[in-house]
Symmetry: C2
DNA sequence: GTCATGAATTCCGTTATGCGGAACTGATAA
DNA sequence: TTATCAGTTCCGCATAACGGAATTCATGAC
């Protein structure tokens, strides 16, 4: 009689949906959030009060917004693997040497997440794009990662997210992608020729540990600038050197770091 | 009969406690988390499943860990006010000029949160300390902020967090702190002489907007190096110049930024 | 091969608890 | 004064979150 469908907790989902709404729209009033999510105001109030009590949400008069406690959580996620931290200086160096945007991307839940982003020019604001999520099939970093995953895992990911077209050249056919990944595996380098955004090219190499890709280093820029030998050879060589150095530090030494009076 | 005590949601609290546990201990098994929080394994399982479904938790075989979705949330929190972003280059410049650790700290829920941290020497790993939470009464940045808050708000914060001693010189007396804040307000500069950690000095200036402190710029370092004119005059002058420049940009222009194919 | 162990997952009855509607409060303005 | 609007509190109900028990699954000992 009673449908025992999903084994998940509704209240938790609702709370995170509220958090997500705050992430999307910025400071908002209770009534706006309730309307947005089609919840009763009393319910919304209870969730916001709970989140506020735990310091995951702040309020300024009538407006609620994300609590800065998420900054800590975000850092913890970003450094959950010591190897993630070691890539930062390589990303900086790549941005410096190429003058283009350099990135370090890892896979989580079948999506690519930008963990480090640096731009060659100083004009662009720092840290912009960190945490951003992209599909793996349409980016050089994503293809570099997928190329070194077992086929079953690749299929799982494609089943989950599909192969939506983002630009004219996006690979939207599964077989075609398999072939592309084969090529990437052979060359050790992935390219993105206007597959993600029209007018934007990119190239990436995997960073491996124990034979498994833990992420990818990538460089992206306007297709008129990223072309020829520069795109095909020179940039990949810089990235390969960086990836190689990272992989040699096989131990990826981790240190706990000192902690003084931290409030939890 | 039925006690209607706290108007908060238990399930949400439990879910966030699990997230917090993962932040603290890193990758963990279900049974470890259940034991740590004294929850039934079936309950823990349901929460983890829910969090995993929403991509806020990842699992690698038998171990659960924070999902990288928190990286995005953390960035969103860190940039919830456009003014927060504009301080980064000043923090970098201060670290460069002083050769010491420079920080930008804001208040949330009565605590100080480090939003930007840069060190003069390149040896130290980047971003370390971002998101960290400290008591306001025992740091130069905290005192710079409190000095420009109305008395009632200061009392609220002290009621909530007390004045715990962290080092030999920590101010633990309310009246004494009031006087100190008065001095800070007059001078426009706050000092921390081994009040937070023995052997560590610091100095800070508030960054104000519409007369209200939105945060503080701070420089900290070993007490033997941070002393005399250097600590009392020169560093504060650099910080004041930076704060002044920030405050002149009263508009704090915000731009939405382009978004390409972002997966939510 | 069987049996023991330990962890994760599923099942299930109970009842606490999360829910929305309604009532109430408080601020602002007409 | 009354009207309006947002936020908060109250309250009864039915659901869904809970923990204990049973089951599955993997691993290792003998």
């Amino acid at each position: 009689m009673v449908e025992r469908n999903e084994e998940t907790i509704q209240a938790t989902k609702t709370s995170f949906e509220i958090v997500h709404t705050l992430q999307e729209v910025g400071p908002a009033r209770l009534s706006e959030i309730a309307a947005e999510l089609e919840l009763a105001e009393s319910t919304t109030h209870r969730h916001l009060q709970t989140l506020h009590d735990m310091r995951y949400v702040s309020r300024d008069g009538e407006r609620y917004q994300l609590g800065l406690r998420f900054a800590r959580l975000g850092r913890a996620a970003q450094t959950r693997d010591p190897a993630y931290e070691m890539t930062q200086r390589h990303v900086e160096a790549l941005a410096e040497e190429t003058g283009e945007r350099a990135q370090f991307v890892v896979e989580d839940h079948g999506l690519g997440i930008y963990l480090h982003v640096e731009t060659g020019s100083q004009a662009v604001r720092v840290g912009f794009g960190v945490g951003r999520q992209i599909h793996l099939h349409s980016s050089s970093a994503g293809k570099a990662i997928l190329a070194h995953y077992p086929r079953e895992r690749v299929d799982e990911i494609l089943d989950q997210w599909g192969l939506p077209a983002h630009a004219a050249n996006t690979i939207t056919d599964r077989e075609e992608l398999y072939e592309e990944l084969e090529t990437v595996r052979e060359r050790g380098v992935a390219f993105n020729r206007e597959e993600h955004v029209d007018g934007l090219n990119g190239t990436a190499v995997p960073v491996k540990r124990d034979g498994r890709a833990i992420g990818a280093l990538a460089v992206a820029g306007p297709s008129h600038r990223l072309t020829g030998e520069w795109l095909d050879e020179e940039i990949p060589n810089m990235m390969l050197a960086a990836a190689n150095e990272l992989e040699l530090n096989a131990t990826y030494a981790s240190d706990a770091g000192s902690r003084d009076h931290i409030v939890e």
